[in-house]
């Protein structure tokens, strides 16, 4: 058999493994489907491979998912755009499986193919496929069909267009809530392809049906459609049709629906124009900010900056700011936390005076919040407020907040604040940093939790980058090197790590003068773990220091370590020596 010819053997095996019992092998073959297709040639791919895939689609979800993905980019292997339609049948079958992620991927691939197909092929092949799926027996196929209308619609002749619209209307009233949900979440996409005249009639009536669905889960997806539809409609239509709906939704009985409104509301402001925003949307938003369900307030608070960006500063100060004040002392820590993460962004919007007068007290109270996340969120966005009013007004309250977070008993909180130290340092300037924060950074090097020590070492590196080698020489290096005599080997290890991180930033001179001697001295440590870490650090120093230093200092030390009684020390010393040799060769 020719297939066993040496060069073809791998491909033959690959093809056979399409039906292997081992799922990993099948998966591998499917991922290499393009290779198989090239080996078979375009014609046989169309006539044999694609039908074969279509018949063998009862596989595991994982394999089907891979197949759906591969088929999406398969057009070149079947002979280009002209033959794109042969890819549709297997994807159509995949659109009906019950695993959601397979269906979604199949729909995605179909859309990708459909977007490239010729208009006549779309009408001849794609639209019938959409119709078949939309009228399928099982809800799975109907769900999938909802995501395909926007591809089929634009190129369809008028009669077909009318048919597609009416089918979509039926999907919006399907018995199964899953189908109605899919129809609701795809309505925006479909509407974007529909002509304005039909938009106002057909699509709006579908939209109205969905907004009155008795299933919460459908209604809340209809909210998503509001913003998308609003952008398509002209301003007066939007005010007439969408605005009442969204205002209604903002007072829906279900908190989930109100939650969705809170998330989407700012997107509608542009669509309805400033007048309607002032009259209708601002009061609706204020209601959401004062909602009795914390989840809704969280969503609304999280969008406060985005909403204010659209409003005029006067409106924001008059209506939104009082709510923000209330929220800053909300009973739910999550609401305060959501507010804290965006409130700094309001400073540029409101301008300097309003910020100092109105926002500053809120910042300060949030900085004293009992919940660490709230304080952290404020600190993380410090740069935005710094641009408006400067840091001086805040620095007084900032320091206690930072110190408290730095000493929080939860190490994750300490970790989070360390992450922000470079940002703080750049905002607050060298002077403030040296006075107040320098000692904290050193203190973290001796934290009881490894992750903190690791982050502290990394933090020193980032500070050195921020303030430059000279500053580091003065304010970091002496303190760090002092700690090298710590009696506990784990702390000495942290210092080693800090050295290896700092060396590339500080450059060859400082490394050779200050850091290298310390590292060399540690090679005489009594703990083997320190010694093999010395070997690792030396290896990392090799590219930084000059070749003469390598030969004079590093290599002798490594040779000594390579004769250590401990096997690990010998191993890593050997590794480092090899690195030295490589530098020699390449140098």
């Amino acid at each position: 058999m020719a297939a066993t010819d040496e060069p073809l053997y791998p491909i033959a095996v690959l093809i056979d493994e399409l039906k292997n019992e081992d799922i990993q092998l099948r998966l591998n073959s499917i991922r290499k489907l393009s290779t198989i297709a090239r080996a078979l040639g375009e014609e046989r791919t169309r006539k044999e491979l694609i039908p074969f895939l279509n018949e063998n689609n009862d596989d595991d979800d994982e394999v089907l998912l891979a197949m759906a993905e591969e088929l999406g980019v398969f057009m070149p292997y079947v002979g280009g755009v002209g033959y794109a339609h042969v890819l549709l049948p297997p994807l159509e079958t995949l659109c009906t499986v019950e695993e959601t992620c397979v269906r979604d991927k199949a729909v995605e691939s179909l859309c990708r193919i459909g977007a490239q197909m010729k208009e006549s092929d779309l009408v001849g092949w794609f639209a019938p496929l959409v119709k078949r799926l939309a009228t399928g027996e099982w809800f799975t196929s109907r769900v999938s069909s909802c995501g395909l209308f926007h591809i089929a619609y634009p190129s369809a002749p008028d009669q077909l267009k009318a048919e597609l619209r009416s089918i979509y209307g039926q999907l919006c009233q399907d018995d199964m809530p899953m189908v109605r949900r899919a129809a609701a979440s795809n309505l925006g996409k479909f509407a974007a392809t529909v002509e304005p005249s039909h938009l106002k009639t057909d699509i709006m009536s579908m939209f109205e049906d969905l907004t009155q669905d008795d299933q919460d889960s459908v209604r809340l997806l209809a909210v998503e459609g509001c913003a998308a539809l609003g952008k398509l409609l002209e301003s007066q239509d939007c005010i007439a049709h969408i605005l009442p709906v969204i205002v209604n939704f903002s007072q829906d009985k279900s908190w989930r629906v109100r939650y969705m409104v809170a998330n989407q509301l700012y997107e509608l402001c542009e669509a309805v124009g400033s007048e309607a925003t002032r009259i209708d949307l601002v009061p609706a938003y204020v209601r959401l900010l004062r909602d009795n369900e914390a989840e809704v307030r969280i969503a609304a608070a999280g969008k406060v900056t985005k909403f204010c960006q659209i409003l005029s500063p006067e409106l924001a100060i008059q209506h939104i700011l009082p709510c923000v004040k209330e929220l800053s002392s909300d009973s739910s820590q999550h609401v305060r936390s959501a507010l804290a993460s965006v409130i700094m962004g309001m400073a540029p919007i409101l301008g300097k005076d309003a910020t100092i007068e109105q926002l500053l007290p809120i910042f300060l109270s949030l900085l004293k919040d009992e919940f660490p996340d709230v304080r952290l969120n404020i600190i993380s966005k410090l740069d935005q407020v710094n641009q408006v009013i400067g840091i001086d007004l805040l620095s007084q309250s900032l320091l206690p907040a930072i110190v408290e977070l730095a000493e929080d008993r939860h190490w994750r909180v300490r970790l989070a604040i360390i992450e922000y130290i470079p940002l703080l340092a750049s905002q607050l300037g060298v002077g403030f940093f040296d006075d107040k924060l320098g000692s904290l950074c050193m203190q973290w090097l001796e934290d009881k939790v490894f992750s903190i020590r690791e982050a502290a070492a990394n933090n020193l590196k980032r500070l050195a980058e921020e303030f430059g080698p000279d500053w580091a020489m003065q304010h970091i290096i002496p303190q760090v090197l002092e700690k090298i005599n710590n009696p506990h080997y784990l702390y000495r290890m942290t210092i080693l790590q800090a050295i290896s991180l700092l060396a590339p930033v500080l450059g060859a001179d400082i490394t050779c003068q200050k850091l290298l001697p310390v590292v060399i001295s540690l090679s005489k440590d009594r703990v083997p773990n320190i010694k093999f870490n010395v070997a690792k650090v030396l290896q990392s120093l090799v590219p930084i220091v000059g070749q003469s230093v390598v030969e004079a200092t590093i290599r002798p030390c490594l040779i000594e370590l390579s004769e250590d009684p401990d096997v690990d020390v010998r191993y890593f010393a050997g590794q480092a020596l090899q690195a030295c040799d490589q530098v020699m060769v390449s140098g």
């Binding site: 297939a3 591998n28 991922r31 078979l40 040639g41 375009e42 018949e55 019950e98 099982w138 279900s254």
Partner: protein, 513 residues
């Protein structure tokens, strides 16, 4: 109209340490009414129904499925009735498949053994001809897909089959890896190499061909666990219930109710938490919970104090505040040591119309109208003759038995189990005095007593048909049973027809009317 239930089918399970489960899922129209059963003795049996399939679960963690095989065409049935062949009306069920749903586990963090015993089973939305169900033990919920697959055989391969057999192990372990194929790791290199060296001709290589797959007629049923929802409950899960929105379900333990999305197994939302800050203040636990059959935002849960709370998920994210509470004020002077124990509700069910809730406590079955919170619209005494014996029942722990209850699809009748393998069926429309007591028994001669030609007799003010046999030692002359070891805890009503499945001893019985 009085219904006369006659036994039509019974399945015996003689498994010493484990039992089984069964359920119906109707494929034509997915009406979900769920049946449950539990069989105490050596096994536990759950039964759920949505029409054509029946599922049962047991102490050994097994789930057994049964399917209906009789023709259900109404036209032909009418004809048959005309011809007076009543026996052919029997719904016939046969064993479909079984699978091991849960295995015994050990929680090392809490030093806790987790039994494999199935607590509940629920049917989910059918799709593509496959059956889906949720099963749970004390801690872990699993989502199962049971599907019939055509057996396929591969008949032709590129690489010589005989060679493949010869090289069997070698081909997959040493030879092929050399060619860097199976794991794909090194194949990339080889591939690019071959595509450079040996460019693919435009027509492809004619010698290569795809495996030929032959589809056989025979089919095999496979059950696959699609999702596992674990680590969300500190206490034992007592109920699961799926939502009419088709994408979420709840699981309830003694103190909390969690809301899940079927597609997402790694997170759930706690929607009810009755755990007091100090466990010494604990006076009440959740005993059962169920979603409303059509309103996706409503659910009801029952408590050990005999109250039912209706909550609205729309009101807030954490539903600690109920929107309605159904509770009957106890009659003054009737209080005894046992009052609180027997008030505990063991099961609640929504009627299909969503208007009524059926609850079962130790002594009674109560039907509530969701528009009336102060008292049930009907109360049915199940085994009033046991009231003087509460002391004995307390001594042997029988007083803590948890009986299921169920409603017929049309909402006109209710049923629940009792001792001595008896179960009782009541008519619940106002003015109905229909009541029947039936015994689930495997004695075939019993069927003679229950021929359809003898409708339920009305005996004085309370109509009761007692099915009793001389060989049942625990049943006295009045049809009252004092045999506390043979209890009928689990039963389920067909969603559209008047047929009941119940589990008693180690058997499953089907009754139809």
């Amino acid at each position: 109209m009085f219904l006369c239930f006659i036994p039509c089918i019974c399945f015996f399970f003689f498994t010493p340490s484990s039992g089984f489960v069964e359920s119906y899922a109707r494929l034509a129209d997915f009406i979900n009414v769920y049946f449950y059963m539990q069989l105490i003795l050596s096994q536990l049996l759950n039964l759920i129904n949505s029409g054509d399939h029946l599922a049962t679960g047991d102490r050994g963690g097994r789930v057994v499925l049964f399917e209906r095989i009789d023709v259900r065409s109404h036209g032909s049935r009418k004809d048959l009735e005309k011809q007076d062949y009543p026996t052919i009306r029997h719904p016939e069920f046969r064993y479909k498949t079984e699978f091991q749903s849960h295995e015994p586990e050990f929680d090392y963090l809490k030093s806790l053994e987790i039994e494999e015993k199935i607590n509940k089973i629920k049917w989910c939305q059918t799709a593509n001809g496959a059956l889906f169900l949720l099963s749970t033990n004390d801690k872990t919920i699993k989502y199962w897909k049971v599907q019939e697959k055509k057996v396929k055989k591969i008949s032709e391969m590129n690489v010589d089959a005989s060679k493949a057999v010869q090289n069997g192990s070698i081909a997959s372990s040493s030879v092929t890896p050399r060619r860097c194929l199976p794991n794909g790791g090194c194949y990339e290199g080889h591939d690019s190499h071959s595509s450079n060296d040996l460019s693919f001709p435009p027509g492809g290589f004619p010698s290569l061909h795809l495996p030929v797959v032959v589809t056989c007629q025979e089919t095999s049923l496979t059950a696959r666990c699609r999702k596992i929802y674990a680590h969300a409950h500190d206490y034992h899960i007592n109920s699961i219930s799926n939502n009419s929105d088709g994408e979420t379900f709840i699981s309830a333990d003694d103190l909390r109710i969690n809301l899940w999305n079927l597609e997402i197994s790694n997170q759930s939302f706690n929607i009810v938490d009755v755990k007091p800050a100090n466990m010494e203040d604990l006076t009440e636990v959740i005993t059962s919970a169920e979603f409303h059959p059509s309103h996706c935002n409503m659910l009801a849960y029952s408590s050990s104090k005999g109250s039912i709370r209706l909550i609205d998920l729309r009101q807030s994210a954490l539903c600690d505040k109920h929107s309605k509470m159904f509770e009957e004020r106890e009659a003054p002077g009737s209080r005894s040591f046992f009052t609180e124990i027997i008030a505990s509700i063991s099961d609640i069910r929504f009627a299909k119309d969503g208007r009524h809730i059926l609850s079962r406590d130790y002594m009674t079955l109560k039907l509530w109208d969701i528009n009336m919170e102060s008292a049930p619209v009907a109360t049915f005494q199940i085994h009033e003759y046991l009231r003087p014996k509460l002391c004995d029942l307390y001594e042997n722990d029988s007083i803590f038995d948890k009986f299921d209850c169920c409603l017929s699809g049309d909402g006109l009748r209710v049923a629940t189990g009792s001792y001595g393998n008896l179960f009782r069926v009541f008519g619940c429309i106002p003015g109905s005095n229909e009541a029947a007591t039936l015994e689930a028994s495997k004695n075939p001669t019993r069927r003679q007593v229950q021929t359809p030609s003898r409708p339920a007799r009305s005996l004085s003010s309370f109509a009761r048909v007692v099915r009793r046999g001389a060989e049942s030692p625990g049943v006295d002359a009045n049809g009252n049973s004092f045999d506390f070891t043979t209890k009928l805890l689990h039963l389920a009503w067909h969603p559209t027809e008047n047929s009941i499945a119940c589990a008693a001893m180690n058997s499953l019985y089907m009754y139809y009317a």
